[in-house]
Amino acid sequence: MTPPPASKTDHPSGDNRFKLLDRTIARFQSRGDALIEVLHSAQSIFGYLENDLMVYIARALRLPLSRVYGVATFYHFFNLKPKGRHAFVLCMGTACYVKGAEAIQNAVAKRCGVSFGETTADGAVSLVSARCIGSCGLAPVAVLDDDVAGKLSVDGAVERVGQWIAEPEQVSS
Amino acid sequence: MAATPKPRVATVWLGGCSGCHMSFLDLDERLIELADRMDLVFTPIADVKTYPANVDVVLVEGAVSTEEHLHMAQLIRKRTRFVVSFGDCATTGNVTALRNRFSVDELLRRSYHELAPGGPATPSKIISPLTLKARPLHEVIPVDAFLHGCPPTADQIWFAVDNLLQGKIPELPNVYLRYG
């Protein structure tokens, strides 16, 4: 969906998203210790952390490239690959596990043909497992795009992802 | 038959290069002494088809790399008092386990299709299928002693076999603990 940034290490011409990112970098006075904040900001602007984008950040914060790469891959919140159009985030916290999240996980993965942590080949759905989203009272819980679904059943979950897969692919602008 | 039967000894060649067996032959004149002290009841250097019962000591060379090896290993365990991992492949997987970074399919394709000199030739059904991974012997059956080295030296083998023939599990001195 999001086109890769037009430029590499140079300041982009016309890609306004870099202006947004520069604003975050400036807010932290280009300090290296703000790396995680800047990566957060970059991911929310660009959708994921492409290599060139991380190089851009490393240069801006004057950090070694491998440091930036190391931090980006340490934290599971950061994606180095584009996400699917829809996200099925299944909570695998203890309460959800005890209440049968594993069965949902297996069924949904089977329906999508990919494992959790992956995106379907057509880019329709990303399957993500989360470490307790803190809605244990509603276990098992999944977040479908931004919608929290509590007390989810196996069939219900499979049906929801089935709808996403069946959706006609949007024409990218 | 003699009143006190000689210990029944076997050697087995699983997934290895037979280098450990070669090293065994390096015992040279000591082999003659061994011949007096033991009965070699099963070994790749003699033509014996089935692994017999009631073996006292077996030296197993090589990793467990095929279904047949697996079957053999289990048979060996049930029929042998002392099982010895003979050399690095049996002890760690070693060179045999270098294939473990590839899938069985990848391996077969590479070996029998891409690199086959006379064109693609998939192995016939007679050859035992490969296990998913080549594994050291002790991951498959309980093992009583370990002989290290690629291959173990003749002296090391002598030390171990000499002890085993006396009915002792060899406690190899640290000098014989050598991988590679």
């Binding site: 995680i36 931090v71 203890t94 470490r131 244990c136 819980v141 | 009631n54 365990r77 029929r79």
Partner: protein
């Protein structure tokens, strides 16, 4: 802002609230929102507008009301009737009959006399679900910032620390280190700059206490931190919070802005010499960052890899400076201690573990939700009375506390008092407060494997025992589960667990084997039943 102004604003808010005939409070914490609380609030607002009741009825969104398994929850004030499972139809009926008609709707009403409510003692959660978390005035009206004002005007920093020490408060993050002692070490430590850090990286799967406090009463945490800043001599605070808690982050951001505008954070707070700022640092999905040295590295933009202690953060912390790190619930206890005095606090709970503890009760239990009980209350009371026991047709098997660092407590220990020492005695830990109930359908080897997989995933990879040992433990558990393991494997499993526990660098590795060790201790049979005999020599009779 002066103390008089604070009192004035609190009084005017109380006055404003009192003028409404009815106030309809809806829980919009994450749990209730996920079962439709947003629509319920929307309905109430629309009704108020439609019927032109803006002067008589106030619609308020609050934090967690506790009974999370039965949301959305609604409370109607001033008569304090609480409703559960409020869907749109129920909302309509409640508005019609109770808010307008004055007659409570029995069909959805929660019995206020149920043990779930009567057995709780609310200190940390006193405002949670009762106030509008996005309004600083609501917090002030409930006594917010009164303690900060008192500390700044009437107490020396040493006196604040002494009060915390006398209260006997212990760290609520799990380890139970005496808070007052920690504060005094930071106070005495030399450093040009000192930091106060709030650990809100609530990573235990099955725990949502901190999130609920932050969503329901964020100002209480800010106030606690500001008092800590005053007591220790720090001028900068950080709240390290998980990215998975967007609502808590939003409410904290709002709260910080409001407090700054009110002069309760920033320079010369309440015209005193205290300058104290708070910034948020958003975690990025790494459980190990709950470990304090990893957390600090993460705040500094690095991989969250722990380092050996000593030196402790209180001497050498953020940027090498003395740093106080406490957890959300610990800070949330500070204001009440200052306001009501250490004696009041110490009178609750047990002599060694005074005060209360918040637990997130979940799993196979009737009343799932957020509870607060005095320390030392028997586990049985939590499970059977407050929690209402396991659902019909099943029996209690174990309660898991402390998440991946804790253990399972079996039925035979149900009378155990819940405090730091007692839980440790049975191989579990207090942890941050997650409590998952398992019934007879839960297999304990599976449970152990679940937690071990978690630890494998979350190990930072720095030290060998944790990186590689947890992986081996997980492999062994899988081998056992799949019926391929022999008694030798079980022995190796136990040996590795003890080794990883003793040799790992940080708390994650040191406690990762606990779920295995504790299930082995109480449910060994479930492991043994899965074993196969190992192959042995079978002499053949000639």
């Amino acid at each position: 802002m002066t103390i008089e102004e604070l009192e004035e604003r609190a009084a005017s808010e109380q006055q404003r609230q009192a003028e409404f005939k009815k106030r309809v409070l809806t829980c919009t914490a994450a749990g209730c929102v996920s079962c439709g609380a947003g629509k319920v609030v929307g309905h109430f607002r629309a009704q108020v507008k439609e019927r032109n009741l803006a002067k008589e009825v106030e619609v308020v969104e609050t934090g967690c009301m506790g009974l999370c398994g039965s949301g959305p929850l609604v409370r109607v004030a001033p008569d304090e009737t609480m409703y559960k499972n409020v869907d749109l139809e129920a909302a309509h009926q409640i508005f019609d009959e109770h808010v307008v008609g004055g007659k409570p709707v029995a069909a959805y009403a929660v019995d206020p006399k149920m043990p779930f409510f009567t057995r709780q003692v609310k200190v940390v959660l006193e405002n949670c679900g009762r106030i509008d978390a996005e309004k600083i005035e609501a917090s002030m009206a409930a006594g917010g910032y009164e303690a900060l004002a008192r500390a700044l005007t009437e107490m020396k920093p040493e006196e604040v620390i002494e009060e915390v020490r006398k209260a006997g408060l212990r760290g609520r993050g799990g380890a139970g280190y005496p808070t007052g002692l920690k504060w005094s070490i930071v106070r005495k430590a030399q450093g040009d700059q000192k930091y106060v850090v709030c650990n809100a990286d609530e990573g235990d799967p099955g725990a949502f206490m901190d999130r609920s406090v932050l969503e329901g009463d964020p100002h209480r945490v800010l106030e606690g931190m500001a008092i800590a800043g005053y007591a220790t001599g720090a001028s900068q605070g950080y709240i390290y919070i998980r990215a998975e808690y967007p609502l808590a982050i939003e409410r904290l951001k709002t709260a910080i802005k409001q407090a700054e505008r009110a002069g309760l954070l920033g320079n010369r707070i309440m015209d005193s010499a205290l300058s104290f700022r708070i910034d948020l640092r958003i975690g990025a999905g790494a459980f190990v960052c709950g470990e304090e040295t990893a957390l600090m590295r993460s705040i500094q933009g690095r991989r969250g890899r722990p380092r050996p202690r000593p030196p402790y953060p209180s001497e050498k912390g953020l940027w090498g400076m003395p740093t106080l790190i406490n957890n959300v619930e610990t800070y949330a206890n500070i204001a009440p201690i200052i306001r009501n005095g250490s004696a009041w606090f110490a009178a609750m709970g047990t002599p060694k573990s005074p005060g209360t503890k918040v637990f997130a009760l979940a799993g196979k239990i009737c009343n799932t939700g957020l509870i607060e009980v005095p320390m030392g209350v028997p586990l049985r009371e939590i499970i059977e009375e407050i929690g209402g026991g396991t659902p019909e047709g099943t029996t209690f098997k174990a309660a898991q506390t402390g998440g991946p660092s804790g253990g399972c407590i079996p039925a035979e220990h149900l009378d155990l008092p819940v405090d730091y020492e007692s839980l440790q005695l049975v191989g579990s830990i207090m942890g941050s407060g997650g409590m998952i109930v398992m019934d007879s359908t839960s297999n304990m080897v599976d449970v152990a494997k679940f937690f071990m997989d978690f630890s494998v995933d979350e190990s930072c990879g720095k030290c060998v025992p944790c990186r590689s040992g947890t992986k081996q433990i997980a492999l062994l558990l899988e081998k056992i589960r799949s019926g391929q393991a022999t008694p030798d494997d079980l022995a190796l499993l136990e040996e590795l667990c003890v080794m990883v526990k003793e040799t790992s660098l940080c708390g994650l590795g040191q406690s990762a084997p606990n779920p295995v060790l504790s299930t082995l201790r109480f449910f060994r049979k479930e492991y043994v039943d899965l074993l196969i005999p190992k192959l042995v020599y079978e002499p053949h009779e000639a």
